[in-house]
Symmetry: C3
Subunit: 236 residues, 3 copies
């Protein structure tokens, strides 16, 4: 893919965001892209190839959204906002001459390189009015409890959830898989090997183990239910 | 190695083709280099360090072949054509002052950086007339069957063979390790977890499992025999 | 982190030294940084985030040392010389507005990008007079024996020790975990699968297995004692 891109855009600069997404894990890829893209400069082209249905009728697309570009399969991995959104322009890419097993090399890399070298989005194909988005179940906000789930596991074994805290919320403790985790501010707030929950650097509730793996210690993975217990009388 | 190269060629651009080759697997490295190099621009310098016999009498070499450059140990990993070939110029690199365990840093990186910054190939050492090539056993083409083998396994667990199909061939099914795999066009032509065979993006027969690992499901790895059964009356 | 840096220093060039350090292994990170930094050009900014105590009172620092820069947590990972050393200028970075779990993104990346784009070290914070260093236990040099330990294991399974040889020393054999390893010059000096010890490309005694893993065959890892037996009458 990089060879193809260098042939089209000799001065393109590559950043490998991650090679750590498990095979076919569209959800994890969308999660990390969503969290990382805002930290990249205006004009960045994000190229994603987590593409288990390559070669089927799923579309190949490119989009301009929020002053950045996104190129990949139309399977939700690009983490675009639900249509319609006037800040998003999306087009369908032609796959007629591509292999049926590697659109990364044959479709997405050329499109990304063209965007990086100045081709306008409309030069890549006809506009489309909708695109796939992943059905994220938002966490449920009760009076004294927020129930969500583990979204993904990072390479330390930290369990990242979909739970954001409402303003002023004071957390008492966090429940997951029968474990009751104390609330902390950073990983080393507990002893080595002990579990805690905290608000991570993306503003999400995260379960962690000091110098260890929460995935192992808590015995949980993506989809596992997490309940955040709030202290009464603190909200608002 | 990159530090050494930046000291010699401050404007060199690095592309890491793969860090996923298993230790000492010269065959897998040669396979992927052969498949990837043609997608890179003219003038690209390919530097390969899969080098189990570093420090022995095996030579260190550099070559210009097909408007690109190749630098590494003379153990077949550079996937050069069999000598003599007038499109290939190869030279031997001096290892006299190098460590005996890391020619990547001490020999190949300096040579690659010099090529990248314009030193002609003959400036790196005396010409040599031959070099190692890997003895690839071509697949056997019968009337209704092509017999080949698994060349390598990719990180999805797909089994990539050395079998190309003759023009007009129609595949009935593919046999491997007692499994009979249907022929398909792309990974999602079968249900999740089911195996199939297809022609991959390099024009080779590949065994795959939809959203899974053919290496696990079929129970095969490099060297395993694969037989492609053709439909009668279709060829030529 | 790279997105943040590109926003500050659009022309910065990234080299990923390694993503293979085990979680929280400050010692391995310091070992490889120490061995690799001298091969990089003058002015290189080394950014290290092996940071198990992020968010605690451990300081975030940047330093100029030996014409290069080092940015990271003050936990010994930066492998700076013991203070005071007139060739080292170190400053403390402000963490007041940072998340408590990801100083790599919020503190170290901005500081490194500023250094890469020309901000002087004193523009990053107030000078500090001391910093953490790792208490490396030097190997013990006896008359006919040097006793040291395994510092780290590389991805081949080679065991790298802290043992350097005195000038003129002739090694008889090396002992570790009840194994007696012959002394060699390079990996292929023994048969495949056999263990040996040698002087590696950093001038350290290393235990290796030809086309295999010394970590598995010898059954050792970081901290394991290693004894180098010298031939009598050869030194000095």
């Amino acid at each position: 893919m990089k060879g193809v891109m260098l042939g089209i855009a000799p001065n393109v600069r590559f950043v490998d965001l991650t090679h750590g997404i498990s095979a076919q894990d569209v959800g994890a890829a969308a999660f990390w892209l969503t969290r990382s893209a805002p930290y990249f400069p205006v004009g960045t082209v994000h190229l994603v190839v987590v593409d288990p249905t390559v070669g089927t009728r799923r579309r190949a697309i490119a989009a301009r959204a929020f002053d950045q570009y996104f190129v990949g399969p139309d399977n939700g991995v690009l983490a675009l906002p639900s249509a319609p959104d006037e800040r998003v322009v999306a087009v369908e890419l032609d796959v007629a001459t591509a292999s049926r097993t590697f659109h990364g090399r044959d479709v997405f890399a050329p499109a990304a390189a063209k965007l990086a070298s100045g081709t306008p989005i409309d030069g890549l194909g006809p506009r489309i009015a909708n695109w796939s988005t992943r059905g994220v179940t938002p966490s449920e906000l009760g009076e004294l409890e927020i129930v969500g789930r583990v979204e993904t596991v990072d390479h330390f074994g930290n369990l990242l959830t979909n739970i954001e805290l409402p303003p002023g919320a004071v957390v008492k403790e966090v429940h997951c898989q029968g474990h009751v985790l104390p609330w902390g501010r950073t990983y080393a707030d507990v002893e080595k090997g002990k579990a805690l929950a905290l608000l991570n650097s993306w503003g999400l509730v995260e379960l962690a183990v000091c110098c260890g793996s929460a995935a192992s210690v808590v015995g949980a993975g993506p989809g596992e239910e997490v309940a955040v217990h709030l202290a009464p009388g603190q909200r608002r």
